[in-house]
């Protein structure tokens, strides 16, 4: 794995992106702004699962109408994040916060998968509840905690040198 990132770091495209000040900063800006779309709409959805917003709207409707926007934001965030990784693969790979952030991303995926394959299967029974059943509330609350951790860890990535190096 570490040989792979070293090889990646030596590719001309990686060096070009790393050294081009403006292209790198543009990608970073896209990454943060698309995060608004991705985590913002995901948070509204998770808050619905908690029964904290849009209580009069069926859960399945909130998911059907907002999830495509969440996924669109997710694709842009992942692609710009991939470019940021590509620009400095060795640094990112060795960064404690980056690794923890990727772990949060995986956990968020697992949480969504479990939700979809367990309590969401019976959504017809609780679709109109202003406050969904406990398992759905746990999934929504867990997702919100994971988003907050993901953002915090991402913001911490440049601070590794101050604390661990």
């Amino acid at each position: 794995m570490s040989r792979l990132v070293e090889w990646l770091a030596a590719t001309p495209a990686s060096i070009a992106l790393h050294e081009s000040h403006y292209a790198y900063l543009a990608v970073l800006t896209v990454h943060v702004l698309s995060l608004c779309l991705f985590v913002g709409t995901a948070a509204m959805l998770d808050l619905r699962l908690l029964g904290a917003t849009l209580q009069s709207v069926r859960v399945s409707e909130v998911i059907a109408r907002l999830l495509p926007w969440t996924l669109a934001g997710f694709v842009i965030t992942i692609m710009s994040g991939g470019l940021l990784f590509f620009a400095a693969p060795v640094n990112a790979y060795g960064n404690v916060f980056f690794r923890a952030k990727m772990l949060m991303l995986v956990l968020a995926g697992v949480n969504a998968w479990v939700f979809q394959h367990t309590v969401y299967r019976s959504v017809n029974e609780w679709d109109k509840y202003p406050v969904p059943p406990r398992m759905a509330r746990i999934a929504g609350g867990l997702a919100l905690v994971l988003w907050a951790a993901l953002i915090t860890l991402g913001r911490m990535i440049p601070y590794q040198v101050y604390w661990f190096d």
């Binding site: 702004l33 995060l35 913002g40 995901a42 849009l54 409707e61 907002l66 953002i151 915090t152 913001r155």
Partner: protein, 159 residues
């Protein structure tokens, strides 16, 4: 007292000096600010999407707007104090000279005024008296204003 002197007194106040001595406070506050940014993105977006005839389009605009407003206010309650703190950290040595900061302040003022007057009034209009063209225009202006705030904010953080 000039504006620069005011900014200096903020940056070198005993509270800020004490907080700067704790190295993880600044990135933690910045992270909270980012979390607030994501949240306000969602709260602004669901209403503007609805005004554009997208997103939760089977629901009345007014009810989506009412539900989202609570989280709009909540995210502002996170964003404003954490933003002011970040500003105070480098008020006199960085922000005073930074065009992006003054642009952000202007865009934020306009975005807040627009959101809580025009957009709120239009969103709360009864379903029978809606004008789709006006709804779409309001959504586009809102998205443009809030994007400017976020973009200028991002520019402040650049090295």
């Amino acid at each position: 007292m000039s504006l620069l002197e005011l900014f200096e007194s903020l940056q070198y106040s005993s509270l800020l000096v004490a907080m700067r001595s704790v190295p993880w406070i600044f990135p933690l506050i910045a992270s909270l600010h980012l979390i607030g940014l994501a949240l306000i993105g969602g709260a602004v977006f669901v209403v503007d999407l609805r005004l554009l005839g997208l997103g939760l389009r089977q629901q009345p605009v007014a009810s989506v707007a009412r539900d989202a407003e609570r989280w709009l206010l909540f995210s502002l309650a996170v964003l404003l104090p954490t933003g002011i703190f970040q500003f105070m950290c480098f008020a006199a040595t960085k922000y005073y000279y930074l065009t992006a900061f003054w642009v952000k302040l202007g865009a934020l003022t306009l975005a807040l005024m627009f959101t809580f007057t025009v957009r709120r009034k239009v969103a709360m209009t009864a379903a029978t008296r809606r004008n789709p063209a006006r709804d779409k225009l309001v959504a586009v202006v809102s998205l443009a204003l809030w994007s400017s705030v976020a973009l200028a904010g991002r520019l402040i953080g650049l090295p």
